[in-house]
Point group: C2
Chain length 216, copies 2
DNA sequence: CTCGTAATGCGACTTGAGTCGCATTACGAT
DNA sequence: ATCGTAATGCGACTCAAGTCGCATTACGAG
């Protein structure tokens, strides 16, 4: 079993040509990028520092990642794979509150929040980073949309409700304050955002069947 | 009257010591910064280019503004003074829709949106820029809160409703997509965000009297 | 009109980012 | 075990950002 006598390609080599060193270098570099961006923030994140920490040469990073942009994008893509804990209280409003509370507690804690804050801030600059950010949030939305889909199955929400849109509505005020307006974030705001999203979802605002929504 | 024979300080010199040249230089520099950030985007915004366009020396910019950060912060502070058109349709939902539509149309238009997008993106990086951004959005919120206050006066919203919070709730999903998740923005999203905010406001979610909001 | 002072102009200098050509190493296959 | 190839290591080089000391200019006061 361990000895592969067949000439068939082994399934454990996903990379086209290069062997296992590239993968090892990549892992080191991604790890070093996360550590550096956590320590120094985005400003002060230099390719040389990452190269030194990762134990590889500067030119290698420029060749494979193109610069700081690619490093951040790769680190973000790696982080996107790790799943978040998803609440299941049996009630949409409570689930959304848990989600926004989780977001709040992560980003409000200087220790846990430093890395994602620096990472997201960094990703907003280059095209590669922006694409990685899009993919990151798409994955988050897709995953978290399950709480809304369960609510639909429960009959709590109208059929056809866009679950990702519900999640976006609940979390947008938090990210807005964190990354756009720069206003302080508190638990109360997180709760209100969840409640508002639950209210709107129950009203059918996120169901495509509602054509104009003239509730005036 | 036009001749000031009195030794009293003239009211038209807000600057402490220096005369009118500093103000002239500042106006030139702010104008040049806006032009540069609009053309080149934030990346590619160099102090030298701004200096050349403004007709002043590089060192002067570094001395007075400290770098790109200060330039952006000053340009943003200047832009914050210009008021937005505020709708007054007599209905909160309609007013909020107008506001989000305005935001949408500005940022969706590559011509009109380029400058504010670049400016806001640029401001997110430095401390000075972040402070300017905070002040910028605080001014916007304070100004736009009037639509909610009118709704309170009309009896459409409960007394004590936080008008700025209503505006934030309405616009947050737009800014979230534009500057955080990077997802595309459309008119429909703008409308839904306004409707959701109006709904939440009518439910009293933004009134401090509501202690826990157990609507479960 | 003259003068003192603060702001600006000016150019050289330092520093770090990013690039390039070539030598070397490690992987994969025969 | 040996070899071809791709990836990496290496150092020098270019270039733009940012700093500094000093000369010059413009403003305001008497």
């Amino acid at each position: 079993m361990t000895e592969a006598t067949h000439p068939a390609p082994e399934p454990r080599t996903p990379t086209p040509r290069p062997g296992g060193r590239s993968a090892r270098v990549r892992a080191e570099v991604v790890s070093a990028t996360l550590a550096e961006v956590t320590e120094k923030g985005y400003d002060g994140l230099s390719v040389e520092a990452v190269a030194t920490r990762a134990g590889v040469h500067k030119a290698t990073l420029y060749r494979r990642w193109g610069g700081v942009d690619g490093l951040v994008a790769d680190a973000l893509a790696t982080s996107a794979d790790q799943p978040w804990p998803l609440p299941d209280t049996g009630d949409l409003q409570q689930d959304l509150r848990r989600i926004t509370q989780e977001v709040f507690s992560v980003f409000a804690d200087p220790e846990r929040g430093r890395t994602p804050i620096a990472l997201i801030s960094a990703a907003q600059r280059s095209d590669a980073g922006a694409a990685a950010l899009r993919a990151f949030f798409a994955a988050r939305h897709h995953q978290a949309a399950e709480v809304a889909e369960r609510a639909v199955a429960r009959g709590e929400l109208p059929a056809g409700t866009d679950g990702a849109e519900v999640v976006r509505a609940a979390t947008a005020p938090l990210y807005y304050r964190l990354f756009v307006s720069g206003e302080p974030l508190d638990a109360r705001t997180a709760e209100r955002a969840a409640d508002a999203a639950a209210l709107a979802a129950r009203a059918g605002l996120f169901a495509p069947t509602t054509t104009t929504t003239e509730q005036n």
